[in-house]
């Protein structure tokens, strides 16, 4: 079985994002970029399935600008067999990403697609569900445990009420939550090995993906700040303050 893994490049989760003063976007110059943390979890899960003999090949997919190769090399160094770079200079919204992934699914015929539950830049949490709809296949989102059986998967999902387990027929789309696994670190020799692994480059325009349907982004603004409060010296002072506000 082949597994396709979404591998998006995003602003590193440690960066404190600044909105440009004119509201035209966020400051991106010199900002550290990293793989989306949920996608590293997705890749780790795919690699473990390959190590267990469930999967035979793991392919990472990145949709984005021409300088995405170095990013995809990280995925190869972590252990993916090969990478596909769908090149575009336009911002890619989830519906477009899902349509691109559908084209790749038709081409590659994977038994499983694993994406992150959300990209931590747009925080959309949409692409996996959209791909599953377009592909007319099952979705198991927010996964914290994945067991692959004969032609089906049993997936435990982190939902508001607790842990839900679904059984889905394969092929299917799974999106990862934080507790699914802990991604491995990349070792130096793996970086060397990754240099010879193939990256296929496809122009988004050449895939025949339906264009449009975009949300128009009009304006960026910083969130309203919370004003810094006061430090209390002890529990008695805290309780008094809360009482005076009618909170306890």
């Amino acid at each position: 079985m082949k597994i396709l893994v979404g591998y998006k490049r995003v602003v590193d989760y440690n960066v404190r994002i600044q909105v440009k003063p004119d509201g035209s976007g966020v400051v991106s110059d010199g900002v550290k970029l990293s793989p989306n943390p949920f996608d590293e979890i997705a890749l780790e899960e795919a690699l473990r399935l390959r190590e267990k003999g469930v999967a035979s090949e793991v392919v990472v997919v990145g949709i984005g600008p021409t300088d995405l190769q170095a990013h995809l090399r990280n995925g190869l160094a972590m252990g993916a067999n090969r990478a596909i770079h769908v090149a575009t200079s336009d911002a890619v919204q989830p519906l477009t990403a899902a349509r691109v992934l559908l084209k790749l699914v038709q081409k590659e015929q994977p038994g499983l697609v694993i994406l992150g539950k959300q990209a931590i830049d747009d925080d959309c949490n949409q692409t996996g569900q959209m791909l599953a709809a377009l592909w007319d296949r099952p979705q198991a989102t927010f996964a914290s445990k994945v067991e692959i059986g004969e032609d089906k998967a049993r997936v435990t999902r982190e939902v508001d009420a607790g842990l839900e387990t679904l059984e889905v027929d394969l092929p299917a789309v799974i999106t990862t939550d934080l507790r699914l696994n802990e991604p491995r670190f990349i070792k130096l020799p793996d970086i060397m090995k990754a240099k010879s692994k193939p990256i296929e480059i496809l122009e988004l325009a050449s895939l025949g993906v339906e264009p449009g349907d975009h949300l128009k982004t009009l304006h960026y603004a910083p969130p309203p700040g919370r004003s810094k409060g006061v430090m209390v010296k002890d529990v008695a002072e805290l309780v008094a303050a809360l009482k005076s506000k009618g909170l306890v």
Binding site: I17, T127, V159, L163, E164, E210, H214, V232
Partner: protein, 313 residues
């Protein structure tokens, strides 16, 4: 005129309060509001939805396929029900997040996630980058607006005396057989629900073990509060995952939030930005949580939390 369809979320025969928050958002958008209730036995839930102020009509769809809210089952039916509506909304809970993108893709349109402000019938504000930026987006004119509603940004619509009419419908949509519910493992708790509680006490990595979390529960019980946690506390297995508060957990807006032994990473803070009053207890006076806390108390939580519980009588 706008015609707005809200997909009801419900559990064990009860309408989830998140639905009433969607109604508030829909009222801000303006127009005729219809709530769709898909359930195996929708009557009682539909009756609850019908009393919410602003709801003009409830559509009840009864089907044994709806004993569990599976997105793969719901989505094709919502896509059919959506015909003739300008807007389709659902709460930004795991239910709505799972379902609505699937609906949007079936309709061939984009989705707005976590709608927090309405600037016009097609113009909305939503958070990105863990809430460190807010972006105004506009849905193209010819498209159905499909959006999840950030529940912490909207009050629950009140339940009035006047009940809207309930219409029973069947929906002609092919339902897939590829997805089956197995179990829901849910810790039964007498405590208030984290997402709607007026008071929340959360513990972080500093608690050190699930046994030590006991002091958090004791404080919460004294306050009549729900209990939450940071990601670190969940990852370490001190508490179940449904207690995680933050960017990738639950976004909450209680009147009082008490953060105990939580450093205040941006991913956590984005989950509590809308809290009325934030109290932080941390032994590190430099912890970022104090930047947002209304009341900060520096010291050892193992001493201060029991003392606080005691002092609350």
């Amino acid at each position: 005129m706008n015609t707005i369809l809200i997909v009801a979320e419900h559990h064990a025969g009860q309408l989830n309060p998140a639905t009433a928050r969607c109604v508030s958002c829909a009222r801000k958008i303006g127009g005729e509001i219809t709530v769709a209730v898909l359930a195996d036995a929708p009557a009682a839930i539909a009756a609850q939805a019908a009393t919410l102020d602003g709801v003009g009509r409830v559509v009840a769809v009864a089907d044994t396929a709806h004993t569990q809210a599976l997105a793969a089952m719901y989505a094709p039916q919502i896509a059919v029900l959506a015909r003739g509506f300008t807007h389709v909304l659902a709460p930004s809970t795991t239910f709505g997040k799972d379902l609505l993108p699937r609906v949007a893709a079936l309709l061939g349109v984009a989705q707005v996630s976590d709608l927090m402000q309405v600037e016009g019938p097609r113009r909305f504000v939503r958070p990105i980058y863990a809430g460190n930026a807010l972006v105004t987006v506009e849905v193209p004119q010819e498209q159905t607006v499909v959006a999840t509603v950030r529940t912490a940004s909207w009050p629950e619509a009140a339940a009035g005396a006047q009940a809207a009419p309930v219409e029973t419908r069947s929906v002609d949509a092919a339902l897939p057989k590829h997805t089956r519910f197995v179990t829901l493992q849910s810790a039964k708790s007498e405590r208030p629900d984290l997402q709607s509680a007026g008071r929340v006490v959360s513990g972080g990595r500093a608690l050190g073990s699930s046994e030590n979390f006991r002091i958090i529960y004791q404080l919460a019980d004294k306050l009549g509060a729900a209990v939450g946690a940071s990601r670190a506390a969940v990852d370490a297995g001190y508490v179940p995952s449904d207690m995680q508060v933050g960017q990738t957990g639950k976004i909450i807006a209680p009147a009082l939030y008490v953060a105990v032994g939580i450093s205040g990473a941006i991913q956590h803070l984005t989950g509590i930005k809308d809290a009325g009053t934030i109290v932080a207890i941390n032994k590190d006076a430099e912890a970022p949580i104090f930047e947002v806390a209304d009341y900060g108390l520096v010291g050892d939580l193992f001493k201060l939390v029991p003392e606080l519980t005691q002092a609350l009588g």
